[in-house]
């Protein structure tokens, strides 16, 4: 009986205040939904990648040997405990001619038979009856190669290659004929490979500009017949169940990796023995041939050059004997550029997901508290009646807690269900611009823990707010509750003490000021609401500034060259001269500077992991120190002061310096890197003279003398920086001409780099927009709710004014002036909060090789400020009919 009365009352109170019920429901839905939705973005993206990697049997470990591998070693690898499948393949980086450009291309052999028989069962899975067929690419168009000289190219490359066209291989790190059996590759199809999820870069290489621009798969027969396997790809069955990149995955893989690493030495020895015996038998054959020739010659009576031949053979023998063992490395996915870039992006999302939802919850709590307080206040009489009838406090509180539970519970379920689907989907779609990971389909997975945490927080916050609101009323005796609440007493404010000022204020301003401080809680909440809103807007605009600034500031003001020409090692001086002459004549080039460039690994001094984690840097050594300034502006970011650069100078760029806390006078340590990017040697220590402004990439500029002192070698200066004028036409004209010059290895223009960056950054921008729009919408709801409550609390006052004969306009002014002042204050506060928050988000979202702009443009402040004010004005306009509708007769009839 009592139970049903309770239910009846609950239902009636929900129906009676549907608007407020919905307000609580919506705000909790948004708060919980955003929390859960944003939190699921990272995991969903990782799940999508994992599904793809598993579906296409992507390698977990990759064993690389500098002198190749043979079937014997591959066989040994397959015996390692925990290794499920092994696939050996050949890979080589070459430079191809694509149109007028030269692009670094990674050529990999594919098991053409297995590939042809494989079948794409979905966008993310390729099935094959051959278990050892790994890294299964999905055929997008055309067919798989059958014969030598046929290839399939990436369907995902920014620079598309048509099926039916032919790609010419022009150079490689060694003679192309030792690598490939043909230099003309006919394109017969396009594929999408799980090994290259990131389209911004397919990997780094020592060739050309340093980035792989295209990958192709060819038959084994396209490689030179004696070109050995370069890699063995391994899968670890026990890691399959775990999500790639997770700690469970890593620990499963690491166990096997440890075992593989244990046999690295013996694999290397094996390979050495093989190579030696091969060489020996070749040599023996040569010796035999030589001896036969000698015998023939002797019989013919000529014995003159026998000793020379013998000497040659002896030297060859010595070479065979002194053959060094190859370096064997075992890599995991964390050393694969695409996979790690993707994972880093998802982790950045995770971090952003910790900032924004917190703000959302704060706001939701604010709204729940004000709304519940209002409901309880309105119900004073009813609470009093219940108390007078003898209901216990618990029973009455349960009533409101039930209401709050119902509203917030429904909101939480609704918000979580909708936003865990919508938000990750939007984010995944945004990222699909630069990643080719097939996105998950609806329904997206929802992590139970995350959903429970979100729902629990949302419901908990609302219940706590309700308790706070109810407790105060319950503490009063029934008689007091049955009487109308004494109106909040007027009070003098501090400002009135400042007599001269107070006297000068007009009457209505006095009222406004006093009202401002009358309801302190409401003041604070409105202030917080508006400040939050404008802060979020500023973050949006600021992020946009920071992101796009890097392009405008980097290319032009800092990087003054727009063309980079690299010459083959050991290019003749004549070739360099003609390249420079060509730049001048075809491209009207200015600011021509010859430099030596090198990719190295850098770290700071000290033993903390922050200092010992190495970062890839570009080292630039100008041939003539004084000329560097015409290619690169070295300056201090804050003061703008130019940095002097001489023969002994060492200048590092800002992001790199901040990674290791390096300032002028500190030391940086540079390491050479081996084929797979591991640091070698003890490293050289350089004393840093200055830190220079820079946004993209990490650079160390070293003076010629300082370089020689540190490395003990004379640099080759095989790179030329130049500023070609005349736009893209002049660039392609110059490029064509340069390629005809012997010794010119690659030509690249920053135009391409800039467009790649724009492409990548537009994604981040998109995510930012999503965040800000939703946050703005949330702030809008909050403002509306607060203003609504503000107005409804003052209905009596408004009615009194109307009776006195205040016009509508005067009433608006009277009520809104204080809201406008709070809005202005809140907006200003939001600018402070926003610039702080923006800094936080920027540093969280930044990648290691990019430094976003650190300033928010004045115009952005203006926009954010104006937009927040526009929100406020819009809400006030929306509320105007409510003010006008206040019924004088009704409002003044009785006290409650």
């Amino acid at each position: 009986m009592a139970r049903s009365a309770y239910m009846t009352e609950l239902v009636r109170s929900v129906r009676g205040s549907l608007g407020r019920f919905l307000a609580i429901m919506c705000i909790v839905a948004l708060g919980c939904g955003f929390y859960a939705g944003l939190r699921m973005c990272g995991p969903d993206m990782r799940a999508a990648a994992d599904r793809w990697y598993d579906g296409s049997a992507l390698w977990d470990l990759r064993v690389v040997s500098t002198k190749g591998l043979s079937d014997a070693q591959v066989e040994r690898l397959s015996k390692v405990k925990g290794v499920s499948q092994v696939m050996a393949s050949r890979t080589a980086d070459v430079v191809c001619k694509l149109g007028s450009d030269q692009v670094a291309v990674r050529v990999t052999s594919v098991d053409a038979d297995a590939a042809r028989k494989s079948k794409a069962t979905s966008a993310y899975a390729v099935s094959s009856s051959k278990g050892s067929y790994l890294n299964r690419a999905r055929l997008v168009s055309g067919r798989w190669p059958k014969a030598a000289g046929e290839c399939v190219v990436s369907a995902d490359a920014t620079r598309k290659i048509k099926v039916g066209s032919t790609v010419e291989v022009v150079s490689a790190s060694e003679d192309v004929s030792t690598i490939l059996s043909t230099t003309m590759l006919k394109v017969v199809g396009t594929v999408s490979s799980p090994d290259y999820p990131y389209t911004g870069s397919f990997g780094s290489t020592r060739l050309g500009s340093g980035t792989i621009g295209q990958y192709v798969f060819v038959t084994a027969s396209t490689f030179a017949s004696d070109y050995p396997y370069t890699d063995a790809y391994l899968t670890v069955g026990s890691a399959r169940a775990a999500v790639s990149g997770s700690s469970a995955y890593e620990s499963a893989v690491d166990k096997v990796k440890d075992r593989v690493e244990k046999i690295e030495g013996s694999l290397a020895a094996d390979r050495l023995a093989e190579l030696k015996s091969q060489a020996q038998s070749r040599l023996d054959a040569q010796v035999a041939a030589a001896q036969a020739a000698a015998a023939q010659a002797a019989s013919a009576g000529a014995s003159t050059d026998l000793s020379a031949a013998q000497q040659q053979l002896a030297a060859a023998q010595e070479q065979v004997d002194s053959m060094a063992a190859p370096d064997v490395y075992t890599l995991d996915r964390s050393q694969s550029e695409g996979a790690t870039t993707y994972e880093a992006d998802t982790e950045r999302l995770d971090r952003i997901a910790t900032v924004f939802p917190a703000m959302f919850f704060l706001v939701a709590a604010l709204v729940a508290l004000t709304t519940m307080t209002r409901i309880v206040d309105d119900d004073r009489q009813r609470i009093g009646t219940h108390k007078a009838l003898g209901y216990g406090k618990g029973r009455i509180a349960a009533m409101y807690l039930g209401y709050a539970l119902l509203a917030s519970g429904l909101g939480a379920v609704l918000g979580i269900c909708v936003l865990t689907q919508v938000l990750p989907r939007i984010v995944m779609d945004a990222y699909s611009v630069i990643y080719v990971v097939p996105t998950l389909e609806f329904p997206l997975p929802v992590d139970v823990g995350t959903a429970l945490a979100a729902g629990g927080l949302g419901v908990g916050v609302t219940l706590a707010s309700t308790l706070v609101a109810v407790a105060a009323s319950l503490a009063e005796v029934p008689a007091a509750l049955l009487r109308p609440r004494a109106p909040k007493a007027g009070k003098r404010i501090l400002l009135e003490r400042v007599r001269p000022l107070w006297r000068r204020l007009s009457f209505s301003w006095k009222v406004t000021f006093r009202n401002l401080f009358r309801y302190k809680r409401r003041l604070l909440m409105t202030l917080a609401g508006i400040a939050g809103c404008s802060a979020l807007l500023l973050v949006g605009f600021g992020l946009h500034d920071s992101i796009w600034d890097i392009i405008d500031r980097q290319f032009g003001p800092i990087v003054r060259y727009n063309a980079t020409v690299t010459l083959a090692d050991g290019a003749a001086q004549a070739d360099v001269d003609s390249a420079i002459a060509c730049l001048r004549s075809k491209g009207d080039a200015t600011g021509i500077v010859r430099v030596h460039t090198d990719t190295m690994l850098a770290r700071g001094t000290g033993s903390s992991s922050a200092a010992t984690d190495k970062t890839r840097v570009s080292v630039v050594v100008p041939q003539t120190a004084s000329k560097l300034a015409s290619a690169v502006t070295l300056r201090d970011r804050t003061s703008g002061a130019a940095i002097a650069f001489g023969q002994d100078s060492v200048v590092v760029t800002e992001k790199l310096a901040s990674l290791y806390g390096i300032r002028a006078g500190d030391t940086i340590v540079l390491y050479r890197q081996d084929d797979v990017g591991n640091a070698t040697g003890k490293g050289v220590r350089l004393k840093v003279d200055a830190v220079a402004e820079n946004y993209v990439g990490n650079y160390v500029y070293v003076g010629r003398r300082a370089w020689r002192r540190a490395m003990g070698a004379t640099p080759s200066f095989s790179t030329v920086y130049a500023r070609v004028t005349g736009g893209s036409k002049a660039e392609s004209r110059t490029s064509d001409a340069l390629h005809d010059i012997a010794g010119v290895s690659t030509v690249s223009f920053t135009r391409q780099t800039i467009s790649t960056y724009r492409h990548t950054l537009s994604v981040v921008d998109m995510v930012v927009v999503v965040l800000i729009v939703s946050a703005g919408a949330l702030a809008f709801i909050v403002l509306y709710n607060l203003t609504n409550i503000n107005v409804s609390e003052r209905v009596r006052e408004i009615a009194s004014l109307r009776v006195l004969g205040f016009t509508r306009r005067e009433v608006h002014a009277y009520v809104y002036r204080e809201i406008a002042i709070i809005a202005l204050l809140g907006d200003a506060l939001g600018m402070l909060l926003g610039s702080w928050l923006e800094r936080f988000v920027i540093t969280t979202a930044e990648v290691d090789y990019v430094m976003f702009g650190r300033e928010i443009h004045p115009l952005s402040f203006a926009f954010a400020f104006a937009l927040a004010m526009a929100f406020t004005v819009a809400i006030l306009l929306l509320m105007r009919p409510r003010l006008d509708r206040v019924d004088m007769v009704e409002s003044l009839k009785s006290v409650d």
């Binding site: 009222v511 009596r796 006195l804 205040f806």
Partner: protein, 233 residues
């Protein structure tokens, strides 16, 4: 022509399906400078009369005039101006702005009309000369009602309308308020209309309008109204 004229005024409220005839052919008039009392049982339509006369609501049919002005035909904007310049209202619950001092509450009204009386003077008139800087919460009910009267008077209105002005006050305080109202009529020459269900108030009135079921049942004039301090109930 009389100062206040009600001619066959009807007011119908529509609440959902139900139609309530609050006034049904109400007619009466009041002369300038009179103190009129409108009495009747609960629900008779007294407050409705006052609301229509005060320009807070418009009638369904009939004509209402004040000082020759046709009130019943006014639009929302004109009604606002009418309330602003011609009417002073006193309610049962004082409806003061809590965040303003006594003086400021009076100034709130006087600042918007054409030739207001000095706020401090009016407050002195109602006997609150030394409470100017008190907030409503610091005043007793009677004192608050006096502030409300001062607020209405400071506008220097043509007509002072009071709805149950003593309803929330004790006997003694109520009497003080009545005296004050009678005084502002007699000494100030202002026309005052008081709505009440208390028949005792009729003794002090120049004119008594008995209202029953939305009509003026009878109208009496009182040539020798007694002093408000003599009224007993």
């Amino acid at each position: 022509m009389s100062f206040v004229e009600f001619e066959d005024v009807s007011k119908v409220y529509h609440t959902g399906e139900v139609e309530v005839r609050a006034l049904d052919g109400m007619s009466f008039s009041i002369k300038k400078g009179e103190l009129a009392v409108i009495v009747g049982p609960s629900g008779a339509g007294k407050t409705t009369v006052l609301n229509l006369l005060g320009g807070m609501d418009s009638c369904t049919s009939g004509t209402i005039r004040l000082d020759g002005q046709l009130v019943s035909g006014m639009g929302e904007r004109e009604l606002t101006q009418y309330r602003r310049h011609d009417i002073g209202f006193v309610f049962q619950f004082y409806n003061l702005v809590q965040n303003l001092t006594a003086l400021e509450n009076v100034e709130l009204a006087s600042q918007i009309c054409r030739d207001p009386l000095p706020a401090a003077d009016v407050l002195a008139q109602v006997g609150l000369a030394d409470r100017l800087d008190n907030f409503p919460a610091q005043l007793s009910g009677g004192e608050q009602q006096r502030v409300a009267i001062a607020r209405a008077l400071a506008k220097n209105p043509k007509l002072l309308l009071c709805d149950e002005p003593t309803g929330a006050l004790d006997y003694r305080t109520g009497k003080q308020i009545l005296s004050l109202l009678q005084d502002s009529c007699k000494a100030g020459g202002r026309t005052v209309v008081i709505v009440t269900h208390n028949l005792a108030f009729t003794q002090m009135a120049d004119r008594v309008i008995h209202v029953r079921e939305g009509r003026a049942a009878s109208i009496e004039t009182n040539d020798h109204p007694s002093d408000a301090s003599q009224v007993e109930w």
